[in-house]
């Protein structure tokens, strides 16, 4: 069992949770994820990214958005509650190395896993520019935490209620135009990652994306998370989650993410009725 140490609401439907997981902390590196289960017998296993870890306390921090049945159950858990299962750290860590200038683009909840990566990129000596995108002002997260280390942070909101108005690809394109960008790391909704990759392609800026596909075991056993990268089938759980954004078949990935849409809608509906 894994104890929730602290829970904070960051924005509408967005929560931060610190969970006791001493074994996961030991080998965890930026870019990796966990699989979590909220209910023992009939619960589902869902992959979630890690936003931080505290080796002294033996805790990991997740930031999640309530989108489906399992996150809705997770939202109801409070500090002191126990989670039956937590597996990790999964996936390959981000290749943290000194390249020069790195632009880290995070959209929505994607800013959470991006945060430890951007910080590690800074710590190793890169110049780090973070583009922090959200739909509106109240959904912008981790701004202060990023300001604490980043050389520059560009916040943009779709509705212009905070920072620049518009999508993340606008400042990304400007930065590419200016030149001297050595790497882009984009984490967010698939459509955002797709357009980030399309934006950087003409400038030939290496672009890493971190994929969050449907998974069951997270250990390579089921292949449900597979994506097409450069014409080849790759498993996000063991080969990823990070891939060359210019090689990922986002169309297929986005279709696959919708495989259980009907079921999810029904389940979410049932969940909401039950929680009334």
């Amino acid at each position: 069992m894994y104890k929730i140490i602290e829970k904070t609401q960051l924005a509408d439907k967005i929560y931060r949770m610190e969970i006791e997981a001493p074994d996961i902390v030991k080998n965890r590196k930026p870019g990796q994820f966990i699989i979590l289960q909220v209910e023992e017998t009939y619960g589902e296993r869902i992959p979630l990214t890690m936003a931080d870890a505290n080796p002294e306390k033996g805790t990991i921090t997740i930031i999640f958005q309530t989108v489906g049945q399992t996150t809705l159950l997770l939202e109801k858990k409070e500090a002191g509650d126990l989670l039956p299962h937590l597996l990790g750290p999964l996936g390959k860590p981000t290749h943290i190395r000194k390249v020069g200038t790195v632009v880290c683009v995070g959209g929505g909840i994607g800013i959470a896993p991006l945060y430890p990566i951007a910080r590690a990129m800074k710590e190793i000596g890169n110049r780090v520019i973070v583009i922090n995108g959200a739909r509106s002002r109240d959904l912008v997260i981790l701004k202060d935490e990023i300001d604490a280390f980043a050389d520059e942070q560009i916040v943009c909101t779709d509705d212009g209620s905070f920072g620049r108005k518009g999508v993340v690809t606008i400042p990304l394109k400007e930065l590419c135009e200016q030149g001297n960008i050595d790497e882009v790391i984009a984490i967010g909704p698939p459509i955002m990652m797709k357009f980030c990759a399309a934006t950087t392609l003409p400038y030939k800026v290496p672009t890493v994306v971190s994929l969050n596909t449907i998974m069951v075991d997270g250990t390579g056993m089921c292949g449900g998370c597979r994506v097409t990268v450069g014409g080849q089938t790759k498993f996000v759980c063991v080969d990823g989650p990070e891939f060359d954004g210019h090689q990922v078949d986002f169309e297929n990935m986005m279709l696959r993410l919708g495989a259980y849409k009907e079921h999810e809608e029904k389940a979410a509906h049932k969940c909401k009725i039950n929680s009334r």
């Binding site: 009939y42 390579g220 994506v227 389940a267």
Partner: protein
């Protein structure tokens, strides 16, 4: 074969026993006793439920079947058993109505008789060598060793006679076992019996490995697996789930930080093979591992309770011909698919699945297509499967496996309407332990190289089961687990 109810089979057995009337049986009398059929759920009923298909022999049937054993001097069946059970010993005890003795004989050699009695490919192992089968010139008429093994194990379990084996005094040595499948469990049991402290590390949230995520409830009830694992815990084996060795802890961590005196890796095959077909990543295409894991481990067959969804289709194609393909097809039948098609490249004679599974699949309505190879999978504009393109094959010369090689006939392409395609063509070895343990030698397929004692190239590290053998069977994995345990026990003494 017409369906006979459990009661009818029992009545027939009673008649036979009455006819024999306790007389001393000569070989020719024994040869005349008919093979006892396994009672099963009616196919029409069972195709709508997940409960176990084979119900197990009745007491009378077990007795009749046991009386068929010739108790021959050469005992070739024992050589066919990967764990060398004294087969005539436990069967003759049933014939003499001494079930306690029969269980004791099984206990000497096997840890998991209730499981092996159900899932071992006996017709390729012990029963293939049976003298009775040879005398009757029909290996299909061999003594039903597996069914009798199951009968005794179930009897012992029902009567709570599955006692704990004796455990040697604590040695102070500790051993880590990676994976809680058949290899890991049998290895852990033998290590613990020798008095070592044993911890099993399991990556998933449930223990049992392939017996829990892969083999469906209707073939191997999960309660039986749980009971066997519970027995290990009562013996003092510690089990830690949610620990993926290679990620949560590396082999190096276990040896150097946690100071284990020895390690056994039984992590299984666990990386599904795909066919590199066009359309393979469409929605509705699954590895058998995923399909079965969703249904079995995550209980998605129970869509009222389970949170994990399962993609259901009216027309399902299963590619492959092994036990996993049968399990997938029979699961699809139970999930309410209207048509389930099994597509196999060779002919029926080459099907690698157990005979019983093939028969059960047919009875339940799985449609078999032999000598057909998949060419591509067709999808609609939403990326969902709508069809499977196949090509005809003919059988050519035997290949390395000794089976005749399928030769594709060009210009024979045909599209079958399908909503779901399940790929059940086997597994490659999981790369994770290899990636994080550079000192561990593996072959070109990524399987860990181990010697006849299951010892690997690394000091203090043994390995067995599918991670060494490639995709094999529960009993072979169990056999390797025991071989490794014997070698570890020797090393630690």
């Amino acid at each position: 074969m017409s369906f006979k109810s459990e009661d009818l089979l029992r009545q027939e057995a009673i008649q036979i026993l009455t006819g024999l009337n306790g007389t001393e049986l000569k070989i020719k009398d024994k040869m005349k006793i008919p093979l006892q059929e396994m009672p099963s759920q009616d196919p029409e009923i069972r195709r709508n439920n997940m409960q176990e298909v084979a119900l197990g022999y009745t007491k009378e049937q077990a007795r009749v079947e046991a009386l068929r054993c010739l108790d021959c001097k050469t005992k070739p069946c024992i050589k066919g058993c990967p764990v060398a059970i004294d087969i005539p010993g436990f069967i003759m005890a049933i014939a003499k109505d001494d079930l306690h003795k029969s269980m004791a004989v099984l206990n000497e050699a096997t840890l998991l008789p209730a499981i092996c009695g159900r899932v071992c490919p006996q017709e390729k192992q012990c029963q293939a060598f049976c003298t009775l089968g040879k005398s009757l010139k029909d290996p299909g008429k061999a003594v039903s060793i597996g069914r009798l093994e199951r009968y005794i194990a179930d009897w012992a379990r029902r009567n709570s006679l599955d006692t704990l084996p004796e455990i040697a005094p604590e040695t102070g040595k500790k051993v880590a076992v990676i994976g809680s499948g058949p290899a890991g469990l049998s290895c852990a049991a033998d290590l613990r019996r020798a008095g070592h402290k044993v911890t099993i590390y399991e990556a998933l949230h449930k223990t049992g490995g392939v017996m829990v995520y892969g083999i469906p409830e209707f073939r191997l009830p999960k309660a039986i697996v749980e009971k066997e694992i519970n027995r290990l815990e009562r013996m003092g084996v510690e089990i830690r789930t949610d620990c993926l060795v290679s990620k949560t802890k590396t082999i190096d961590d276990l040896l150097n930080k946690d100071k284990y005196d020895a390690l056994f890796i039984g992590s299984g095959a666990g990386l599904p093979r795909f066919l590199k077909l066009e359309g393979e990543n469409l929605i509705g295409v699954f590895s058998a591992n995923e399909y079965l894991t969703r249904s079995n481990l995550m209980r998605a067959y129970d869509d009222q309770k389970a949170a994990t969804p399962l993609y259901r289709g009216d027309k399902v194609a299963v590619l492959g011909g092994g036990n996993v393909a049968m399990d997938s097809a029979r699961t699809a039948i139970r999930l309410g698919s209207k048509e389930v098609h099994l597509i196999y490249r060779r002919s029926e004679a080459e099907l690698p699945a157990r005979l019983e599974e093939i028969e059960h699949a047919k009875e339940e309505g799985v449609i078999f297509h032999f000598l057909k190879a998949p060419k591509s999978i067709k999808g609609n504009e939403k990326g969902r499967v709508i069809g499977l393109e196949t090509l005809d094959c003919i059988l050519g010369e035997p290949d390395d496996s000794g089976r005749r090689r399928p030769v594709i006939q060009e210009d024979s392409a045909r599209i079958m309407d399908m909503d779901v395609v399940i790929i059940a063509i086997g597994n490659d070895s999981n790369p994770l332990i290899k990636q994080t343990t550079p000192d561990l030698e593996t072959n070109k397929w990524g399987n860990i190289i181990a010697d006849e004692n299951c010892k690997t190239s690394m000091e203090k590290v043994w390995a067995g089961g599918d991670i060494v053998l490639g995709a094999a069977t529960v009993i072979l994995a169990m056999g390797q687990g025991r071989t490794a345990a014997a070698s570890i026990n020797k090393y630690l003494s």
